[in-house]
Symmetry: C2
Subunit: 229 residues, 2 copies
């Protein structure tokens, strides 16, 4: 699958790009600066023993087309601007994976504090900026960058996905399931991101207390775990 | 330990009362009506093969004293009124376990939708009503009543606890750790309940999608799991 990772030079996006490239996908790292995108791609390729490409955000987003996934892994402070900058490049009907957590760090607060975006969640803000064509899926808020970067270990965590479009959610879920140890969970409509996004803050709090870096969630209690019925 | 379960006639409270009695604690079920509290206690005693007492909410709350725990497991719609009704009975310095999830059902909405309480969280509202003496611990939002009721099975779930007072949090955590399969996680200050409480809505959404009744969370990623450092 063609996957663009917008903000792929950051820790979370870089780890995701490496994991998806290792799973056999055609991954392009996007950056505000095409040169930095290319540098990050070269670094990820060397580290992972696979080939990634790198370019500017808009070119990367366009390259995913309608059949791929555009993953957006940027800080909340820059999220709206980034979406406006790729809006015209995103294919109609494209699938967007938004991983934004509205942490209070965006306004000088602490990473264990969360903001309430005007639209309800950062993912709903993304959908509002992109308009009706692209289909936004919210996810990855509870996956630590450190866990993604450690390619020699499985990622022991579930990925909570929220989206209005079932096909888009399943497409992103398929990507997730291809990463060793990860499993996607259908958490309902896009608006459920209002609950899922602040979980990053909760995990930051747990990490601080227990002096770890990669706490995460598993959903339990499902006797017969599998795909959605 | 002396434990009062306010709202112990409801599904969540009833299950918690049975689990704690089975673990050897002196449990009193509180209800608005002393007779109904006694009936519930008799039912729980028969089902669990242990002895629980039952009475009205204020008497139950007073009985926990300063060394016990007052667990409050009531719907959000009645939470403020319940706290006002037990306020004068709660011992100064008492430890309160508030399990309230501010679900939209309180105002005729859906159980996979959450409200934002004026104080930030339902637990902070409880603290505001009780004043500075009692120490509120928020927790149990992610534990299904069905899982608590099934005494023949371990509860496969972590309990996310949020509180400002470390001793109160540890006391409740000790109660939790005494229930087979359960484990408490220190999620930080009481205000983190703003993130933890709406998780009930997320689990309701997961339960609906997968047609299960008892999904829950485990925290993963801690190589050396244990008590707080």
């Amino acid at each position: 699958m063609d996957v663009a990772v917008i903000g792929g030079t950051g820790a979370e996006g870089f780890g995701l790009a490496m994991r998806l490239a290792a799973a056999g996908h055609h991954v392009t790292i996007g950056s505000r600066d095409a040169g930095r995108g290319a540098e990050s791609a070269a670094e990820a390729s060397a580290l992972g023993g696979v080939t990634l490409r790198g370019t500017d955000n808009a070119t990367a987003a366009a390259g995913a087309g309608t059949g791929g996934v555009v993953a957006v892994t940027v800080p909340f402070a820059g999220q709206a601007e980034i979406y406006r900058s790729i809006k015209d490049a995103v294919a109609p009907g494209a699938v967007i994976l938004d991983a934004t957590s509205p942490l209070a760090t965006a306004v000088g607060g602490r990473p264990w504090q969360a903001l309430r975006p005007w639209h309800g969640s950062a993912a709903e803000q993304a959908q509002a900026i992109l308009g009706d064509g692209p289909r936004v899926v919210a996810g990855l808020h509870t996956i630590a960058a450190e866990a993604l970067r450690a390619l020699d270990r499985e990622v022991d965590s579930d990925v909570l996905l929220c989206a209005d479009d079932p096909e888009a959610k399943t497409r992103v879920g398929t990507l997730i399931d291809g990463i060793p140890g990860m499993r996607w969970v259908d958490c309902g409509r896009l608006e459920m991101a209002r609950v899922a996004e602040p979980l990053t803050a909760l995990l930051v709090s747990v990490n601080r207390t227990y002096k770890v870096k990669d706490s995460g969630f598993r959903i339990v209690g499902r006797d017969a775990w599998g795909r959605r019925p």
